[in-house]
Subunit: 387 residues, 2 copies
């Protein structure tokens, strides 16, 4: 039996057209886009075509405002460290939220070791930042605001446009980690008004280990990777052209299919949440009830441990996660769930269920049935559960 | 007619077995190595298998001392910035040579902007560093020595073992940029005695945009990419697994074929140098006559411009380069050629000819014939040439 993938966040399947484009690129033995001969020129054209496709997906005014990177984590590190280090003379204060991805949190923790000061704004019980809190946190020393577009554990969307209005007025660079949003929900850098925006190809059925960063023209930042003159002198190193070609094709498909994908996902999401409520007692659905990703459900199942559920579901060939794969090796309760006031025990009993194009209603039905049994079994063994 | 590729340095063709492995990986839709379920476990196994293959190629005592990166440039930035920033309390002095790759030079220039001091050791006319000069440059403040294994423009190999003996005695971390050596000539991190060593898959017929860094256990450095717990907590971000699989297979082939590849290349190199001397007057062969890469010839052709030669050869479908593709967009004379005492004009008239597995003697013959005509044509137009 084929596994049921309800862990799309960890690894989206590659679209068939992405696979074919990457395979063709492998067979074609493309050259180096920086080489000053015809083979290099062809490679450079391919690279710029992918950049144009990506620019359309996020409505970047010019493809040249996009650099390709090795993924969301590099983009986020590049944006935050790059802006921070380029602006030390202006100040060393950064504002963020307390539910950011580890790539943001740990990057900022690193900057703290270099004497940067950080204000971390709290979110409400649905995981939303209040833009007024950002405005209040701004000081003369503030050189960067970084807030995510959607949360990777609970799916809540943030009021990015409202925050950008504040940062633009104050002329402070604003980075948005949009890794779990780009290619999933509409993201328009011009409408949002952000200065930097990070994305990753695998969130929209492109390959892992490829992503990019939108950098509004005129934004001052240091490259994380110094060396050659690639990527408009902002990111040195010979490009992962095969991966970037996959990203480009995935971006084109996302533009074309976003509406139908989301229609499909929202139907599954509704069915899944209703099913969870019907089948299992003592649960919380986490995240904002409306302003959230269409392809993610976070559920806290009281009295039991998420890790145990994942293992038992795995034996039934159903893949889910307790949190982002990036944090799977870290043995702490999710900072996101604690931030929205789940207690430690409930945070540990949380599943993140993510799905997509290939997920069927039958997958959801089977998941609900198996989960019901797993929860019964685990609760029967749980000293916390008394019924 | 198929182009004759004498610009292997810019882009090695992918080995057929590398292509097949990457295509199989694309079709298999592998998971995320960090996911806590069976699909994730399989992906993690694949990742570790590639790491083991790479460890064999450079004789790393443990695969865990290798991290995968997005290529040589990231590895170099990670090594140099990582060690520098982790050791600021000990000192801020770095020692390097004056013929390093731009990824090293510009990384160090960046650190200068953060108040690091740098001693840049000169090379002799063959491009060799004198280890005694490194010893002399060491101060109480020195926290890093970085010298390349082989030069990407002239092919000269450096006395890395001798330098490492000095740095180990002084307990100073030593990074070696071995991008143009790993997979080409024997590189044994234990025998060399280095603490950090950068490499790139495309130099040994693996994909572009994938590489790695050997980090001797106990070496203190800050990650360039903070975030998730991947790569032994030293390099965050979901892996480019398809690329890493290609790297692993390429490493296995390099172990198996290195001797026969080099036998082939050395024969071509000898033929090429002899042919250049026979066909064209007023040339210099750059780099050390023996201690140099088997797959590279650098020739300065007096009175004419390298860029012009490259363009005219390109029309004849012969690919060569004037210098590394990374620097192709930079309109300055090569710092490497100036460092070995070529004057500005001769530096501008230099070709870097790199070749490999698929290059034939017939390719060399045709190149020599076409080059002879091109040089005649260009010299006839050159105001500098009077004969």
């Amino acid at each position: 039996m084929k596994p049921i993938n309800l862990d799309y966040l960890s690894a989206n399947p590659l679209l068939p057209e992405v696979q074919e484009a990457m395979i063709a690129a492998i067979r074609a033995n493309l050259g180096n886009p920086s080489s000053p001969h015809q083979v290099g020129d062809q490679a450079a054209e391919t690279l710029e075509k992918a950049r144009e496709s990506m620019a359309r997906l996020i409505n970047s005014p010019s493809p040249q405002e996009i650099i390709f990177t090795s993924g969301g984590t590099e983009s986020i590190n590049q944006a935050i460290k790059g802006v921070a280090l380029a602006n030390t003379k202006k100040g060393k204060h950064i504002i963020t939220s307390n539910i950011e991805h580890n790539a943001v949190l740990r990057t900022i923790r690193r900057l703290r070791m270099m004497d940067f000061k950080v204000t971390s704004v709290s979110v409400d019980e649905n995981g939303r930042v209040n833009p007024a809190d950002i405005a209040k946190a701004i000081t003369e020393e503030t050189i960067l605001v970084t807030v995510m577009h959607s949360n990777n554990e609970i799916g809540t969307l943030q009021p990015i446009e409202e925050i950008a209005r504040i940062t633009r007025e104050q002329k402070i660079p604003f980075h948005c980690d949009a890794v779990t949003s780009v290619g999933v929900v509409p993201v328009d850098v011009q409408r949002l008004g952000v200065d930097l925006l990070s994305f990753s190809a695998n969130q929209f059925y492109g390959p892992s280990g490829v992503g990019g960063l939108y950098i509004r023209s005129g934004t001052s930042l240091w490259p994380l990777l110094d060396g050659g003159v690639q990527e408009n002198n902002k990111r040195a190193g010979t490009e992962n052209l095969i991966g970037i070609i996959g990203l480009g094709v995935a971006a084109e498909s996302a533009v074309r299919e976003m509406e139908s994908r989301n229609h499909h996902c929202l139907r599954l999401k509704k069915k899944l949440i209703q099913g969870l409520k019907n089948h299992i007692e003592d649960i919380f659905i986490n995240g904002h009830p409306e302003l959230s990703l269409p392809n993610l459900v976070s559920v806290s199942i009281r009295y039991i441990e998420g890790e145990g559920i994942v293992l038992m579901l795995d034996e039934e060939k159903i893949l889910v996660s307790t949190r982002s794969a990036c944090a799977a090796g870290a043995l702490q309760a999710s900072h996101v769930l604690l931030a929205i006031n789940r207690d430690f025990a409930d945070a540990q009993g949380t599943l993140v269920i993510t799905f997509g194009k290939e997920t069927t209603e039958a997958d959801i039905d089977r998941f609900l049935l198996v989960l019901k049994n797993v929860v019964q079994t685990l609760r029967a063994m749980s000293p916390l559960y008394k019924k």
